[in-house]
């Protein structure tokens, strides 16, 4: 039996050859709903949320990804104590839906990631269009994904619903250039 208190990844027991496609684990992911947020909301939660569609911001080890009007995905580390942030959200006209376990997140170096995703995903991921900090929701082999270009322009994160985690992992491995 796996340790009951240890969070198990959707890829547990799946061989992960090479280090091109990495799984990001230990993430704290929330969908934030705050169309009626009070003034100073960003200051309270320590992150100015992007107002522009498909953009992200980053501060205090927290990413804010625009996913819909008035809605963002907040992504941080599960080891951080987010209690204050959650209280601020609730007190300032927002709501959070817990998705930490609901996503499998892949991290791939930006250059190969663009080539791999181009094999099925209809997004235009060229760096001239999909610039640093961009995020976008799309499909990959019929599965909804969220793509986020972050870091110093070094990598791309791909979010997928956990139940599709193994399927997308296998697809990415298959589509990746031979190592």
């Amino acid at each position: 039996m796996p340790d009951p208190l240890t969070r198990q990844s959707a890829l547990a027991g799946v061989p992960q050859p090479g280090d091109l496609i990495q799984e990001r684990t230990g993430l704290w992911i929330q969908r934030l709903y705050a169309p009626d947020r009070r003034p100073g909301f960003g200051h309270k939660i320590g992150l100015d949320l992007p107002e522009q569609a498909n953009r992200s911001t980053f501060a205090n080890d927290l990413h804010g990804l625009w996913v819909a009007p008035g809605e963002w995905l907040l992504v941080g580390a599960e080891t951080t104590d987010w209690h204050d942030l959650m209280t601020h959200v609730a007190e300032n006209g927002g709501a959070l839906s817990e998705l930490s376990h609901a996503r499998t997140v892949f991290r791939i170096a930006a250059v190969p990631a663009r080539d791999i995703l181009a094999k099925d995903c209809p997004l235009d991921l060229r760096p001239s269009t999909f610039t640093l900090g961009h995020c976008a929701q799309s499909i990959l082999v019929g599965v909804g994904i969220l793509v986020h270009y972050l870091g110093d322009g070094t990598h791309i994160d791909i979010y997928v619903a956990r139940s599709y985690g193994r399927f997308i992992h296998a697809w990415l491995q298959d589509a990746a250039p031979p190592s």
Binding site: T6, R31, Y33, A95, S97, E98, H101, S163, Y164, W171
Partner: protein, 754 residues
Amino acid sequence: MCLADEGARLGGSALGVGDEIIAETIATLESLDNVTLLRRTTVFGKYDDHLYGLVDRTGDHLASPPKGGPRQVLWQMRTRRAVLASGAIERPLVFANNDRPGVMLTSAVLRYLRAYGVRPGKRAVIVCDNDSAYEAVGILTTGGIEVAAIIDHRHMTVQRGLPGVEILPNHAVIDTFGAQGLNGVSIAQLDVHGDAAPSSRQRIAFDLLCVSGGFTPSVHLYSQGGGKLAFRENIQSLAPKSEVPGMAVAGAANGDFIPDTAPPIALPGARRKQFIDLQNDVTAGDVELATREGYRSVEHVKRYITLGMGTDQGKTSNLNGIAALATALAKPLSNMGVTTYRAPYTPVTIGALAGREVGAFLAPARRTPMQECHEQAGAVFVPAGLWQRPHYYPRPGEAMADAVNREVLAVRGNVAIVDVSTLGRIDLHGPDVAEFLNHIYINGFKTLAIGMCRYGVMLRDDGMILDDGTVARMTENHYIMTTTTNAGSVIAHLEHYLQVIWPDFRVQLTSITDQWAVAAVAGPRSREMLQSLDSNIEFANQALPFMAWRGGHIGGIPAQVFRISFSGELAYEIAVQAGHGHALWEMLLATGEEFDTIPYGTEALTTLRTEKGHFVMGPEADGRVTADDIGLGAMLSAKKNFVGRRSLRLPGLAPQGRLNLVGLVPVDGTSPIPPGAILLDQAVADTAPDKAGHVTTSVFSPNLDKPIALAMVHDGRQRLGQVLWAHSPLDHRIVAVEVTNPVFVDPQGDRLRA
């Protein structure tokens, strides 16, 4: 910028003419970082919002394509601006036996010579109705082809210095000869009306006939973009006349640089085959026959005689076909219209379109957090949407029926667990959730207390059942809804009402199906078993009554326990975050060992819910069924409005005569009831009797020790105790059945409230 050319060498019709300029241009383009050159790539279609489909033939030309690599690659390209320079395609001329080998388009002969170094004949005659053929003479001569004569349809031909070439103005080819290949043609002088005068025939001997009947601009992509075409007299063809946003049409595709062309002529002698569509074997006689049979529209004639319906999509034949139709109907060619230019422009392999979505990647596969446990337990799986759910868990040597009966009896007599993580789960946040749910469900939701759950049914706006499930109130403004596995369409339905119909409701919807792993623990000993777990949750009936939920931990894992039941037994659904689902499942089985706890699959679930008369989406609620039909009419609130309510007043939804959910048992007590069988009032269907209903779900009930079924029967609730016949012509079975109440087990519901 991206430049796509269908040829292996870039340059199009300039190849062999302006090779230096082409080489310079390619060198410049290749030096630019923001330019992609796609050779052997055809833009085969234009779609909405500036989307183009391109097929890149990466491996077709290779003797041995790279192992595992594709033959063709599909590009989907969304453009800000596109320049269409697709050129024009030469048309053949229509005359008898124009399909004989050796009859070729002049442009095809030139391409063989210049692009491939192939000489298609030794001595050629050119027949044309435009000037382009005259320019070809020099190239043919240089290529070693002697040009014997030019036969020109036009009355007036400009005098040209073409030594050794006989020019026959005002003449046409009317027939061709030759056994193994072309060796001669019959020509005739045209009269003032453009008709061939038979008396003037003469024969010429040679082995290559170059034909040129003018040029048709390749306007497919322009037309697919919504561009309108106009007939231009000077080129005798259709050409762009309007603007397509984001697209410029250049050169011959725009009708420019095409030589003036004489109107097509109609030759006598339709008895001999004058081919219009050389690929699909459509002749001028076929067009004439179609008009004699009353066809007038180009679209209808096309389909009747398959004109232009080959893989070339009529590139060389459509205009000649329209001209033949115009002649047959005695109408001007300019008024005939044109058939739709459909994609793909050239054939595209299915493999290119499918891309990598083949084999294991044909359809996405979803896995629950407990999937590995089921695999290790040797479960037999059954597809449920994109999930593979355990159908049953056979023990060594056990048949399916034995396994299912064992699982069903364990739930009714002991305790068993089932993975229900596949059911849709939706998080609802916001101050208006209760009001929103009240609008969505047929029953009231404003009084649902924190810590409680409620069963609800939602309708489409036409009054038919869309889905059913439970809603739990977690906090003041936070609710969790469970749906069937049909969660995608439910969330779309809810989002539609929130975004379009009631945008003022402050409600946030989030699919949280993937966040949770859920196990249902069902059976009379389920409470006892749960109480033996290391948990701070009180499972006693008073502390956790039917339709309540409580939070806490189980074995240290944070958990939510919902006391809801699909099986009709005392049951609890335990939800933990997905990353702990595997551990929860194993913990339940390990702790449950002393209670002989076993896992059960969807087939046992079907038997259990059938015994309880619970409908499911699909078999019973098939999209044509109302709440009253299913026996839930009492749930329809009279105090409030809800989606679908107005439609329930439609005369067709009045209760009388509608199909009702009922139960069936075989009259002999033993015969299985054929699933899907048609129910009739009589045993022998010698005439065409009215259908009384149909069987929706059929199982063997080990608790009642006999086959039972659910069925939809006209006025079924008034027919309890009556005998019907279940006819299954597919397997030649007719079973007499008695109509019963659909609830076979525990109609008072004492077990689930125990």
